[in-house]
């Protein structure tokens, strides 16, 4: 059933329309004045001011590889992250750790580990799937480059972003 919406009854000054215009202009002038005097503070001037200090704990930025306390790359090149990565941004070429090495029982290490940051969607599945806690999403968000090749993070770059992680997984210690 059609409903007839009753029109509001306007008084004389409302029908004249000009008082409403003037009050609207007073509101915009108030905003203008407050902005001009710096009382309203909304915009962050990006390159000069950054929001690093306000970044939440769970922020997902660039993925990175980490070393453990002994300086070993934690990654064992199991390639689970490569398989789970939804946009297929990760490419791993595994290598073998030679016998006689301190960590020979680990057997594998990433010979090459590339993450294409053009493809990466910062979903964090690689971090979630990693059985060695070797890959983490750091808080770096300003990832730029002049070419497509610049945007591919290789192993050195990933380790540089990642740094050392003092973690709970110590299963490759010599004593065990």
């Amino acid at each position: 059933m059609a409903i007839t919406v009753s029109r509001p009854k306007l008084n004389w000054s409302e029908r004249l329309y000009l008082p409403a215009i003037l009050s609207g202009m007073a509101i915009t002038l108030k905003h203008f004045k407050n902005m001009l005097l710096g009382r309203t503070k909304v915009t962050m001037q990006y390159p000069e001011e950054k929001w690093d200090s306000q970044m939440p704990e769970h922020y997902r930025g660039a993925p990175a590889l980490v070393r453990d306390q002994t300086g070993r790359i934690r990654c064992v090149a199991c390639q689970l992250c490569e398989f789970i990565c939804p946009p297929r941004a990760i490419k791993i070429i595994p290598g073998e750790i030679p016998t006689g090495d301190r960590f020979a029982k680990v057997e594998k290490f990433p010979h090459e580990f590339d993450i294409d940051m053009i493809r990466c969607i910062y979903c964090g599945l690689c971090e979630e799937v990693c059985p060695e806690q070797a890959i983490y999403l750091r808080k770096d968000y300003a990832i730029t480059g002049f070419t497509r090749a610049d945007m591919v993070h290789d192993k050195e770059k990933l380790l540089e972003i990642g740094g050392v992680m003092h973690g709970v997984v110590l299963k490759w210690n010599e004593k065990k």
Binding site: L18, I21, M25, I27, F32, M35
Partner: protein, 353 residues
């Protein structure tokens, strides 16, 4: 042949054009900054100190873009339209007195005795730029924009013309320098504080003048296609209006032509209602060239204040619906202006000073 007149006129033309084009460029910058501040944003503040070189960057962008012509347009009129949008707006400035005198030379390019008729005659030609642009683009949205513009500008030109009649009933001349001279002697049209300001006759006469001022200002808003009357280029409805098919500097001419029309409109309002270059207590150019420059500065300051109001209104009010626009023009402003003429005439005839 009077060479002194010729040379002084040439200097005035070049100087006025330079000043107006400068104001035009910075009006675009002001539009962006003020709109931003009204909306709690910052606006362009990167190019130069506080973004002051932004107009230069904008102009360079327009000039360096590819100047394309779509294949389906009528080439001759397509190229003619941007010029027709720009030229009438600039030409109108020729008759406006923008200062008192400088070194004994009157600061008006052409002090002709049909002053305000010339303004209306030339300013009305501005509609051709828009109509021809809409038609020659051979495309739906520009066509709709052009059609809307035709009816809108013709409708509001009536109230525009009728609104100034009380002034000329009072002064008896169409020459714009006379309008300014009258306001110096008797006070501004809408606020007669100069001279014998306690005379009740002047305040009685100020009532139709204020009505004229309001109607005229609103009609100028409509004539310059500014919000709340920007139907010819309503981007949410018409993609971009009459200049949808235009790019690079041809679009730039439409865009800047709109701002020149704004400046011209403000200058006309200042001359007719707000005392021109006059400010109470400040002598004219016959007291030294310094005062002459001050008078010019006062004129352009008043224009700048009106430009701020133009921008302020644009970022406050929503757009009218098309039928509301027509109703407003034909049913309200036309009648108000018409009645206002009779009110002014009755005051002049039966309540003499």
């Amino acid at each position: 042949m009077d060479y002194a007149f010729l040379i002084s006129s040439l200097i005035k033309i070049v100087a006025l054009l330079a000043v107006v084009l400068g104001i035009m460029n910075y009006a675009v910058y002001a539009e962006r900054r003020i709109s931003a501040l009204i909306q709690d944003r910052l606006g362009p503040n990167r190019v130069g100190p506080a973004g002051l070189f932004q107009p230069i960057a904008d102009a360079a962008k327009f000039l360096l873009k590819e100047d394309f012509t779509p294949g389906h347009v009528n080439k001759f009129y397509y190229w003619l339209a941007p010029c027709l949008a720009m030229i009438p707006a600039i030409t109108t400035l020729a008759v406006l007195p923008f200062g008192s005198t400088l070194f004994g030379v009157p600061m008006v390019i052409a002090d002709i005795n049909v002053g305000v008729l010339f303004v209306f005659a030339i300013a009305s030609l501005g509609v051709y730029g828009i109509v021809i642009a809409g038609w020659s683009s051979n495309s739906k949205y520009p066509f709709l924009g052009g059609v809307r513009s035709t009816s809108q500008m013709i409708s509001y030109e009536l109230s525009l013309g009728l609104a100034v009649i009380p002034i000329f009933l009072l002064i008896g001349q169409l020459r714009l320098t006379e309008v300014v001279r009258y306001q110096i002697e008797h006070g501004w049209m809408i606020a007669p504080f100069v001279g014998d300001w306690t005379n009740p006759h002047k305040w009685l006469l100020a009532i139709p003048m204020v009505v004229s001022f309001v109607v005229f200002t609103i009609a100028i808003f409509a004539e310059t296609n500014r919000l709340p009357f920007d139907l010819p280029e309503a981007e949410t409805e018409l993609v971009g209006g009459y200049h949808t098919e235009y790019g690079s500097m041809k679009f730039g001419l439409f865009f800047l032509g709109e701002y020149v029309a704004m400046i011209t409109g403000s200058a006309i309002i200042v001359t007719l209602f707000l005392g021109g270059w006059h400010f109470p207590g400040i002598p004219d150019g016959s007291h030294g060239w310094g005062w002459g420059l001050v008078n010019i500065f006062i004129f352009f300051s008043k224009v700048a204040v009106l430009l701020f109001v133009f921008i302020w209104v644009r970022w406050t009010l929503p757009r009218f619906r098309y039928d509301q626009l027509m109703r407003l023009g034909w049913v309200f402003f036309f009648e108000i202006a018409l009645v206002n003429i009779f009110v002014a005439a009755i005051i002049l005839a039966y309540f003499p000073a």
